[in-house]
Structure formats: structure tokens, C-alpha cells
């Protein structure tokens, strides 16, 4: 019975239930073998609200997974308690005592009945676990795409994310914007995952499980966030030297916010006469070989699209905040912020550097 209700919970989804599942989750996480560590996890550092807790799901796939996970943890927890009790009992009860010295205990060679019992019971548990799991696999993987879903193509690069919205004509990087999905009128986001070089993995724990980005092997995943806010994630599949600083932010916007973000992103780059000197530096150097700025001759695709750079909160795939000083440092000497990133230092003069940074600052 327990299994049925768990799976049903996994299929339905409401924001209110998330809270209760969470507290139950943390009780169950207090299993003996990690009890000490769980205390640390809920300590002053902010967990479970650290933004990447797999037991704070905010989207149907993540919620289905969290519910199944708790079910599996309960079953394995019961197995742990029973077997540990047997082990502990036999170690304590049957410890050798001084008075037994030199005497051997009764020599028992086995028991067919007991062997049959401890073969059949685990087999039944496996059947239950498998059926519960298979339902969630099917529910998450084979979910049909509704016609008004938002489509995004994510392309993994060494060490940043390219986001393309084919229906909306938007190209951006590292910070994905998607609409919140209202359960009565769902607007999920369906994502196609590609790679430009090595393997990567797209992982935003509170929205969905991870799916790899593999060259020549297109993948897909989906999410339907139930609340607005910024969700964190990062590349989970080792992709090269700077795998650690391939961070990922997903901004889940309300319908109006998302619509106005889309309108802003669809515009070409702002043309600011005051920044013409910086634009010349940008186009004269190799910058434009790798970077695109919409509406100008710069159309490189090797690095992130800069058309609306100032609409993003971070630089270098989350390695630094998007401030004037960081931007200047990043252009002057990328390896200070992100050693071994593929962005080269162009060895610009101070004047050129200031000019190009001023130009970037106009790209709202």
C-alpha cells in the first residue's frame, strides 16, 4: 500500500506538499549511518535552502524523483535496521568468553529453510522497488511535449553554456530564463541538449535530474518550475580543466517578466554613439571572431553571445559577478578569474581596455 500512495504522490504535484515531504525527508535522512552529517547539513550554513538540494524539488521531474527517492530510502532504511540488528546481536550475544576457552561451539553447516527465506524476501523487495522505479522512469522520460511548451537548445562548450530559443529567436549564455509553470495551465520548458566539444551534464538539482550533453548524441529533458526565483546548478560531467567553474543559473520568471525579458532579448544590440571607440577596438581585435553582438558585424559563435551582456548577473559562466571591475579584469587577464579558460588575454593597452569595457557596459 505504501508503495502505491508514494507513486501517486509522485505523479501529482503541488507546492504545498513540497514542504511536508521535505521535513519527512530530513527525518529519514537521519538514518544512523549519516546522522552526524545530516546534523551538519541542516546547520547554520543554510542547507537545505542552499539552492541545490535534491530534496527541495520545485518542478515535477525533481518532485517525482524526490518522492521515489524517499520511498527507496525508507525501504533500504528498514533493511538496514533489520540486518544491522542481526549483525549487532550476533556480535554481542555470541562473543567468546573466557570460560569457553578450548571448547568449540556446536558445528552448524546450514539450513535450507533459512536460505530459502532469505532468498525469497529480498526478491520480493526487488520486485516492489523495481515496479515503483519503472513508473517514475516512464513518467519523467516519456512525458509528451505540450504544444505551448517553451523550447530551448542548450549547447555545452568548454566551460560555458550556450542557450538558443529557436522559436523565439534568442541566443544567450550561462543564465537561462524560463517561465514559471502554473499547474492549471502548464508551460513547461523542453530542452534539447547538445555539445560542441566534450561531454557535459546539465544539472539543476531542484528542477530536474541531470542529463548529459554528448557530442553526436542529442539528448532531451524537461522541467516545469512551480515557483519563481533563481535556481543554481553546474556542469556535472567532467569536461576538462575548468569543469569546476562551469556554473549554471536558471531564472524562473513570472509570465509578464518572462515576456518582457523575451522582448528585450529579441532586440539587436543598443547602439551608443559614446561607445564607438570601444566598438572599434572590439571589431579590430580578434574579439569578434569568437563573440557575436546582434546587429553588428561581430558574429562569432565560439564564445558567448554578448548582445545583451549587461542583462546577465555573472561573467565567465558564473565565475565572477558582472561588475565593471570584474569585467575589466576578465578582459585584461582571464586566467586570474578562471585559469585555463579558452578566453585569451588580448594584451590590450589601458586605453583600449577602458574603451572596450565601456562598450560592453552599453550592451544592455
Amino acid at each position: 500500500m505504501a508503495r502505491k500512495s508514494e507513486v501517486k504522490n509522485g505523479k501529482k504535484m503541488s507546492g504545498r506538499r513540497t514542504k511536508s515531504v521535505l521535513s519527512r525527508g530530513w527525518q529519514i535522512v537521519l538514518l544512523p549511518f549519516w546522522s552526524t552529517s545530516a546534523l551538519w547539513a541542516v546547520g547554520p550554513e543554510g542547507a537545505p535552502g542552499n539552492g541545490t538540494n535534491i530534496f527541495s524539488p520545485a518542478s515535477t521531474p525533481a518532485k517525482s524523483i524526490a518522492d521515489l527517492s524517499l520511498f527507496v530510502i525508507v525501504i533500504t532504511g528498514i533493511i538496514f535496521v533489520v540486518v544491522f540488528a542481526l549483525l549487532f546481536y550476533s556480535v554481542v550475544k555470541f562473543r567468546g568468553r573466557a570460560i569457553d576457552a578450548g571448547r568449540e561451539p556446536a558445528q552448524v553447516y546450514g539450513s535450507t529453510q533459512i536460505e530459502v527465506a532469505w532468498t525469497i524476501i529480498p526478491t520480493l523487495i526487488v520486485v516492489v522497488l523495481f515496479l515503483a522505479t519503472a513508473r517514475v522512469i516512464h513518467a519523467v522520460q516519456d512525458a509528451p511535449e505540450p504544444p505551448d511548451a517553451v523550447e530551448v537548445t542548450v549547447i555545452g562548450h568548454q566551460y560555458w553554456w550556450e542557450f538558443r530559443y529557436p522559436k523565439l529567436g534568442i541566443v544567450t549564455a550561462n543564465e537561462l530564463h524560463i517561465p514559471v509553470s502554473n499547474p492549471s495551465h502548464p508551460t513547461p520548458t523542453f530542452v534539447q541538449l547538445l555539445s560542441a566539444d566534450t561531454d557535459h551534464s546539465f544539472w539543476v538539482p531542484e528542477l530536474a535530474g541531470k542529463t548529459d550533453l554528448i557530442p553526436n548524441h542529442p539528448n532531451k529533458m524537461w522541467m516545469d518550475p512551480q515557483r519563481t526565483g533563481v535556481f543554481l546548478g553546474q556542469c556535472a560531467q567532467y569536461c576538462g580543466t575548468q569543469h569546476a567553474k562551469m556554473l549554471l543559473r536558471i531564472s524562473v520568471d513570472g509570465p509578464e517578466d518572462f515576456a518582457s525579458w523575451v522582448r528585450a532579448q529579441q532586440k539587436p544590440a543598443v547602439e551608443d554613439a559614446g561607445a564607438i571607440a570601444g566598438r572599434r577596438v572590439f571589431e579590430r581585435n580578434a574579439c569578434m571572431n569568437c563573440h557575436a553582438v546582434g546587429g553588428t558585424p561581430a558574429d562569432g559563435r565560439f564564445g558567448p553571445d554578448l548582445t545583451h551582456l549587461m542583462s546577465r548577473t555573472t561573467l565567465a559562466a558564473g565565475a565572477a559577478e558582472n561588475t565593471y571591475d570584474n569585467l575589466r579584469l576578465w578582459i585584461q587577464n582571464p586566467s586570474v578569474i578562471k585559469p585555463s579558460s579558452l578566453m585569451p588575454s588580448m594584451k590590450l593597452s589601458d586605453a583600449d581596455l577602458d574603451a572596450v569595457v565601456s562598450y560592453m557596459e552599453t550592451l544592455h
Binding site: G51, S69, V91, Y109, L129, I137, G209, D212, H217, T241
Partner: protein, 557 residues
Amino acid sequence: MSSNVITVSVGQTDAKPWVDELHQWLTTVDHKRLGILYILSALLFLVIGGVEALVIRVQLMHSHNNFVSPEVFNRMFTMHGTTMIFFVAMPVLFGFANYLIPLMIGARDMAFPRLNAFSFWLSFLGALLLYFSFLGGSGLYGAGNAPDVGWWSYAPLGARAFSPGHSSDYWTLSLLVSGFGSIGTAINIISTILCLRCPGMKLDRMPLFAWLNLVMAGMVLIAITPLSAAQIMLLIDRYLGGHFFDTQAGGSAVLWMHFFWIFGHPEVYVLIIPCFAFMSEIIPVFSRKPIFGYPVMVAATVCIGFVSMSVWAHHMFTIGMNSYANSFFTLTTMVVGVPTGIKLFNWIGTMWGGRIQFKTPMLFSIGFLFQFLIAGLTGIMMAASPFDWQLSLSYFVVAHFHYVIVGGILFAVFAAFYYWYPKMTGRMLSERLGKWHFWLFLIGFHLTFDVMHVPGILGMPRRIYTYEPGRGWDTLNFIISIGAFIQALAILVFVANLIISYFKGAEAGNDPWDAWTLEWSTSSPPAAYNFATVPRVASRRPLWDLKHPENPDSRYE
């Protein structure tokens, strides 16, 4: 006793005795000496791989740490993984198998002594090739030394475009060469067990140690060959213009994953089954009872051997297989838990009603049972593929497999050291240092690897050289690193115990544990020919029969 042997040889030879001794060790084809060579080389690389782990742990102690550069960090985890699997775990287990199988089945050597020596030296050469990459890896390219592509070297990261220089070549050649060594050893173990058993030792009278190693050797034959094939294909890609895994030219990255894990998962069982073998010898002796359910133990092992060949893609749940494939590999992975559980129950059944003696080998064995239980249960969690979509590639999975490899395999290996060291050297390991070793290592292990599950749940991916502050990971990582240093301290106690006891340990005698298998019937250490006369057995516990003529096992078989 061995020191007596050395003294004698010093007395007899006047010119360069140590050179003679060294020469004898380098050219030996004696299974016992080769076993010890395997074990010593594994200990050497255990220390090296351990230092690499410590570098990793210092770097991750707190967020934004700059102890090492990202390049060095990536080399460290690649070398740590490769070293520990291929040049610590496999050699130490092959070493014990080599040393003990002929003694346990009443044979005078392995079936092919020269192949045995050849296999050991291939394996050792493989290790040297891997570490030579620190010197030769950068080649003429000025590329980094030592491989930094992870111990899976997933395509296309291992291709020349992303791994220039020679570091990946040394990694490939190293695994290729040592893989041939492993295949040779597997052939040798199978032949020895099938052909060289002493009179009376029918297959169903073999010690479980021999049975389990027979299954392990069969799995090595099946599992190592695809790895070797993949390494050859990678070499063809890198030097002969092949495109097997070259995604830029239409090759398949997923193909490499399948090749690697169709080796990689059976490999886990190749490592754990010999540890089951240790448990199946040690637990009965210290419980003073025969193994519970011998035929079921054999059947469960053979069952694990077969089923574990069909679970490899559970390492690939995140790569976008379809829902049927994910369901299939979920099922097979859960099914392999059943025979594994049966083994655990049978060890508890062996202790049940016994008179357990808490000598150091038994302490490590009980630690093994406890930790292997937890490792198995976290394994079940990740077998549920949706749960794995969250846990895979995170620190949870790192904690899980270290629970298997350290909490399971290494604890079992330590138990084996304390149990068979007296047979190999003639001297007992110190019980006092042994208990220090056990408790320090147990505390360090749990501090590190219990806590390590949590950052995974909180979204920390593996193989990152640094992380942002404020993610809730700092304190956890600090505790994990402290635990690593406690484990390192315990290893120092262990090595000190090995050295001190070699010179000052108590004399062991033939049979210090009052045990029942044939190796305890001969001298410690055994003579080159093992047995003065080939033994003849009538039951699974020949020494029990000898010690209890009034109530021998042979009466019940």
C-alpha cells in the same frame, strides 16, 4: 623464520649476498614470492595513491582554496583513481590469490609458474608506465604531464584534440599492459584450481577462497578483454587516424562509455569477490564454526558472476538512454543485490551461535560486514535510475564507491593481512598496533565517507577543483578532509606494524589461529615446495578432521 633463512644465506655466500637475494626475488617463479611481490608493489602504490588523495582533500578543505592549480588537481584525481583500482586493489588481491590458492588446494605451485612471473612483471611495468607520464607525458608539445582526463577518460576528452601530448598515451599503454598481465593471472588461477587440487579435494570440498577466486578469474577474462580492445581502438584513433571515438569526425562517445563500463562494472565484482573470499575464510575461524550454507555461498557467487555482467549501463543512467534501457538496467542492478545479500546473511549465520574471538582480523571483518551493508544499500538507491539522475556524478556516488572500495575491499584486505601475515613471514602482527590501526582507520573512514554523502545530496558535483562559498559545502568538506588525515595516520600505524613485526613479532608457528584449511598444516613461511608430502583430504576442513578425530567433518559429507 624467514629471518633465519636470510641469516643462513648470509652465512653461506660471501660475495654480495644482498645482490643474490635480490636476483632471486627478481627471477623467482615461486607463487609465494610472486604473491609477496604483488602485495609489496600494491602497498607502495597504496601510499602514492593515498598521497594523491590527500592533495585532493587539502585543496577541497574550504571554498576558493588555492593549494594546487586546477591542472594539478585534475591530474591528482585521475592518477588516484587509476592507481587505486589497477595498481593497488587488483595487485593486492592477485597477490593473496597467488600466495594462498596453491597452499589451500594442496598444490606445490601455480599451474604456469613462468606465466605467473610474466604476469606480475607486466602488471608492474604497467604501473611504471603510468607514473613515467610525470616525466614523459608532455612530450614535445609542452602539454601537461600526467593524464588529467579522469580514470574513465571519457571520449572525446581522451582524443588528441582535447588531450595533446603523451599523458593519455601512457595511461592507455599502462592499462593495456597491466590488462594483459591480469588476463595471464586469470588463466593461471583457473588452470591451477581446475587441474592441481590434491587427492580428495573435489570441487565441492574446495575452500570457498578457491571457489570465489575461480569465479573472479573467469570474470577477469570476460571483463578485461573489452577494456583492452577499447584501449587499442583509442590508440588507433590517436595515432593511425581512426575515428572510433572521434566525435568531430562522426565517431561515438557513447561507444567508449559502453566499452569502459562493460569492463568497469564487472571489475567492481572482480575486486569485491576476493574480499568475499577473505571473509569466508576468516569469519568461520574466529567464530569457531564452519561457514553457514557452503553450497549456497558457491551458488550465490556464480550467480553474482553472471548477473554482474548485465548491469554495466547503470553507470550511464544520465547519458540519455531510453526508458526501456533505464528500466532494464535498474532491474538487473537490483537483482544482483539478492545473491549479494544472501552472502551477507550467510556470514551472519556463521557468527550466529559461535564463540567470536575479537582478534584484529575479525575486527576488520566485522567492519567489512557493517560497511558493506551500507554500501550495498546506497547502491540500491542509485540502482533506482531516477534517484541516480540526481546522485550520479555527485559526491554521493563518490561516497558510495569509496564505501565499497575502502569500507569493503580495504577493510577485507586489512583483515587478510592480519590473518595471513603470520603464514607469510612466520611472525605475528602486533595486536596492540593492530587495534590502534583498526580504530583509527574506522573513525577516519566514517568521518570522511559518511559525511561525504551529504554534499552530494546538496548538489556538489565530483571532480571540481574548487567551489563557491555559501553553498553549504564548506563545513562538510572540512570534516571530510580531517577524516582523510586520520585514515592516513592509521595507514602509517599499519606500515609500522608490518615492519616492526617482521623483525620483532612473536613467532607464529604453523597454525596460530587454530584454523582448518591446508595452508595452516605447513610451516610458516612454507618451504619452496609447500608440502613435504602432498596432502590428502576427506572434507572441507581437513585440519578440523585432524584435530577432532572423534567427530570429523568427513562423517557428514
